[in-house]
Symmetry: D2
Subunit: 390 residues, 4 copies
Amino acid sequence: MQQIKQDFPPASRRLRLGFVGGGQGALIGEVHANGARLSNRWDIVAGALSSNPQRAQASGKAWMLDDDRIYSDYQDMAQKEAARADGIEAVSIVTPNHLHAPIAKAFMDVGIDIISDKPLTTSLEEAQSLAKAQARSGVVFGVTYAYSAHIMVRQAQAMVRRGDLGDIRQIHVEYFQDWAMNVTDQGENAPWRLDVAKNGPSFTVGDIGTHAEHLARFVSGLSIEAVRADFHVTGKPKALEDTAFMQLSFAGDVPGTLMVSQAMAGSQCGLRLRVCGTKASLEWHQEQPEILHLRAIGAAEQIISRGHDAGMIADTQRLLRMPRGHPEALTDAWANLYLELAVAVQARREGRALPKDLLAYPTIADGVEGMRFVEAAIVSNATDAWVFCA
Amino acid sequence: MQQIKQDFPPASRRLRLGFVGGGQGALIGEVHANGARLSNRWDIVAGALSSNPQRAQASGKAWMLDDDRIYSDYQDMAQKEAARADGIEAVSIVTPNHLHAPIAKAFMDVGIDIISDKPLTTSLEEAQSLAKAQARSGVVFGVTYAYSAHIMVRQAQAMVRRGDLGDIRQIHVEYFQDWAMNVTDQGENAPWRLDVAKNGPSFTVGDIGTHAEHLARFVSGLSIEAVRADFHVTGKPKALEDTAFMQLSFAGDVPGTLMVSQAMAGSQCGLRLRVCGTKASLEWHQEQPEILHLRAIGAAEQIISRGHDAGMIADTQRLLRMPRGHPEALTDAWANLYLELAVAVQARREGRALPKDLLAYPTIADGVEGMRFVEAAIVSNATDAWVFCA
Amino acid sequence: MQQIKQDFPPASRRLRLGFVGGGQGALIGEVHANGARLSNRWDIVAGALSSNPQRAQASGKAWMLDDDRIYSDYQDMAQKEAARADGIEAVSIVTPNHLHAPIAKAFMDVGIDIISDKPLTTSLEEAQSLAKAQARSGVVFGVTYAYSAHIMVRQAQAMVRRGDLGDIRQIHVEYFQDWAMNVTDQGENAPWRLDVAKNGPSFTVGDIGTHAEHLARFVSGLSIEAVRADFHVTGKPKALEDTAFMQLSFAGDVPGTLMVSQAMAGSQCGLRLRVCGTKASLEWHQEQPEILHLRAIGAAEQIISRGHDAGMIADTQRLLRMPRGHPEALTDAWANLYLELAVAVQARREGRALPKDLLAYPTIADGVEGMRFVEAAIVSNATDAWVFCA
Amino acid sequence: MQQIKQDFPPASRRLRLGFVGGGQGALIGEVHANGARLSNRWDIVAGALSSNPQRAQASGKAWMLDDDRIYSDYQDMAQKEAARADGIEAVSIVTPNHLHAPIAKAFMDVGIDIISDKPLTTSLEEAQSLAKAQARSGVVFGVTYAYSAHIMVRQAQAMVRRGDLGDIRQIHVEYFQDWAMNVTDQGENAPWRLDVAKNGPSFTVGDIGTHAEHLARFVSGLSIEAVRADFHVTGKPKALEDTAFMQLSFAGDVPGTLMVSQAMAGSQCGLRLRVCGTKASLEWHQEQPEILHLRAIGAAEQIISRGHDAGMIADTQRLLRMPRGHPEALTDAWANLYLELAVAVQARREGRALPKDLLAYPTIADGVEGMRFVEAAIVSNATDAWVFCA
């Protein structure tokens, strides 16, 4: 067994967490909350779970919040929580995209740390403005690209870093779903993701393309320097793209591709990454998150699974929740994220420095990078030309 | 989408849970606790996490228990918790096998509900005595055969019940691990599972054979009526078996096999069930818990995954924690178990009847059945003959 | 690349091959013939493809045989071919089981080499008598357990021999089909395999159990010393078993299991072998014949595929027909068998000795061993006791 | 079982086949020859297996050709074979690309039918000229895109045609190998495929890109109307591309992607096709040729394997060589191709018309289409723009 470089500092109590958004019917709020619960580092104690007062009440009760900590206005919540001795120490923002920035600013202003869903904002400009505000405020700011918190994704990143693949030569990432095949932007059941005002000007590239973009950068360690994108509608007619195919140029002139669709029949969450070097290639699928495929030239394929002593990066051990052979999955990845965020929030509040490389949660810089990628893709599609992301 | 028969009754607060066993270094305690946390129905507030006072203290603090609720004696804990207005409502027992029964009795006596690890006891006689005590006390008693709480195992059971397989004609279950390959019962690092006094007279059949036995019965709905077992030591020498192969006779003269080993090189948690009928066969693997293979005569194989509208049993929907394509895994199964146990404990305390078939957690009857199976296997191995489990 | 120990001696012409059985509607004759054709070492020039003269004619013409070499009586064929200068040098026997021995004897008597389908005969006694006749005659006698001629099965055998697995500790083999689920022995469409007179006293153990038995012995290098078998009918009622489950004892007290059924819904040709040692386990599936799974303790699983330089046994190279990544399959295995048999027949006719270990085709000794296994299983099932195969 | 529309006309003798190219060390010649042998419709009787006389002799003897039919000059062979009463009826051309056209013309001129390896020529212009010559001569002309002759690829095509997928909305094809990772075009071991004069101006797009292009067109039934390609060198430096990524526009504005590399570490023959419609998506991998994945919206994934009664297209039955569950593979696909070509050659020679849709082997039109695709990709890469293939 390799040595784990360092363990997380111990906690003497759980931190206090609030939510904006995530009320009844909003799936992703529950996913965040389960991550926080499983991490055992947070108590969820307050929420503006909906801007609709009745729904906010019902949702808050379902989450077993105290009556006086159920809000329907996030500004009200920010003020009141900041004023309490037992006020929340961080807030999770799980609203439509256009609200991420104003809500984050309201809580930053009162010194509360931020956990925001992705994509960060509806435009690069708004993202950059938010990043400046975050820098001024000094708060912790995590963006929930949760796939990067799977242990085997961390393992993949570590294998690339230690040179198991040789020099990186090509990178392919794809993310295919089918839920938007028969979805349109007409009618009252149209999802907010197809409403430009709430969602921003890209549907699928913003929603899942940013996951693919982040994952490729996270594992390879290479930035995306230029994009050549074609947007398509392959499902029912809609104003925004539900499909996009791209050529990418990563740092060091490493070519790559990115394919996303939310109208590919029969796909559920087909996020798949291939990083290919001069010695070997790595492959990871979101739907089988416990397995890495390592294919080296002239060698048998290896199926690396979480928990094998041989080959596992020691630094992932501090995130282990289940012994080998007992599968972890997506809630575990969310819990890893909330665990690392708790460590960061606690350290900030205690004025304690953390060792470099102890934490790997996505930050606001990753959120900004995502918006830069989305805008470059939009321009490339419109101009039929390569566009730099720099 | 099919109709879900009924949902769980809502909860207005989390229940209070204590632990006996599970201190530092004891993996399974953390697994139970994570299930409880993720279920969002329990607060872990007390524990006798070790009988060693120092370790009990350190473990209790790591679990963020209040000082006055960290115990090192389970009888002390039972008395004090029963006397508190905010005392625990249930206790999880995660000690070596020989302590399950005395601890359970101590907490039953003061009206606290029981969640016990498996195998239930070290002998059938002790299990039957415990079951009588439970019947007298009326407490809820869950046994944590957690694999049966995976949604796709519930789905498998439901598919058998509605006749998707036709009449059941053969059943095969196997559970292979390799951690005991190089383990012996000599020396001070010998695990308690190889100590007959603490573990009981069977190592592997008791430890993982009972999981296999429960899973086969749970999905098929058929009891095991007779066993023909051969025990082996295929890893380093040890007094108890680390491997066993069996022929089984299920109710209705359905033949089957059961194979278990903890010394099968390269296996991690290879629990695999095949239930085969006149129309189709079902297969489920613990290491890929989100998938069922359905193979019908004259049809293409179907890979049924959690979340497909088509084919999923509606009644599993109330356990869903992640949307389709986003994998759940073993912590989710544990959370399902702790969720159902919370519903049961709450109902008992509120004097409320629950609809039949709402809950499917394993009960003390399953625990007794497991011990009956273990003893039949031991006798069969010793006598080289079929032995009835009745 | 490792050194191949030696290559096959070159051939200056194809050998002349005849068939008994295999007429229209008889699948297995075509399978044999395709193996012979693909091997490029045989010309099929004569045949008694059916005992029905009309069918023999039609089948012979479909195989493009010359008119004077189409027979309907195997004794006639043996005499006439032996008398020709260009007579056949070997005969393939693909009839129902009860005819294997008399036909083989007829051709042996005139010095023609024998390629017989399996099981060798309908009884052990008949097999032993045939083996004596073969020994007297000195003819080459191959038995077509074709699965053992897959390159990756040869690779598996070589890996066991060179110690990749450590000491062998358990062996599991299973073969599941479903074609007999709805088959009965009543009515005029009842297959000859359910007619004791033509088939012998065991249906499934004789038909596919012998494949499983041979494969396990071939790869492990261990003989089966004792059997404890239970026979079942899990498909429609029939007098002979369509399912059997066994405990095995291999040489050196290595325990194992064997499971066969031709009434397991949804299985096609599910022949699967697991050989497990102190260091690693190997797994091979007939339906994915190009892949070996190697699972070592504390290491990532390896997927070894035909053609990888790393790990492939050099001696398999002489059988390669396709470059790496281009799949071979069952016809290739048959061609390997017919290729090795051609080498053996040519050597006998040229009076040339071949290097030990050059050829690995199954011989009449393997055929006899198969019958010994079948009879032991029958007795064990009848007596509910372990039976020695010695 | 569905009705097979019609069977192949019977053959009363094997046709006579010659080879140009394919001498010792040339892998692909043996692959063609094995296909011809297994088809049982051809006797290989003549060859100019090398232009080097000594090698031609040695190779011819290894193939057991008669001395007077071993040539080292293809023009000599064309003349002499045409003059013989028992001369060859077709020739297989397995030389470097620049020789395909002149050799084909030499044999066409004397009325011999042509089976050519791919890519058809080194330029579109040469391909078009050859097509005109073929049209004038009236010979049968097959191009060996052999992957399209796998039964499950035929099945995929038939499923698209009968509407199982709904309207086609996106198509993705990739073909990854790694053998050129460390190959350069310098030194005397440089392969001819990196020599522009022998190979033409594209390495990987010509070599395996055309396989991918043909397969996508064959299964989807849609032509490629425009290409946007980027060429890369991801292995050791070389003048021609070893990697290319493309956006495609299929007929009806169906978008798609094509990715090829011969320098993707750890890939062997990773040819994978995904055809996605409004109702379902189909996926096929060359390395597991017996399986189709069908993923429909809201349904369980189906694993369709060759031989299932349910779902299999009846017209593929006439190509079956093995019963269900007994895998076929690439040699079977080659044999299917040689079988269909034999039917075509025999029909031409007998002046017999064949039913439309009886045969599906790739023709010279497919070869021309491939060259059009290669040239469009080259131009697109050079101009960084979409290029029409029309």
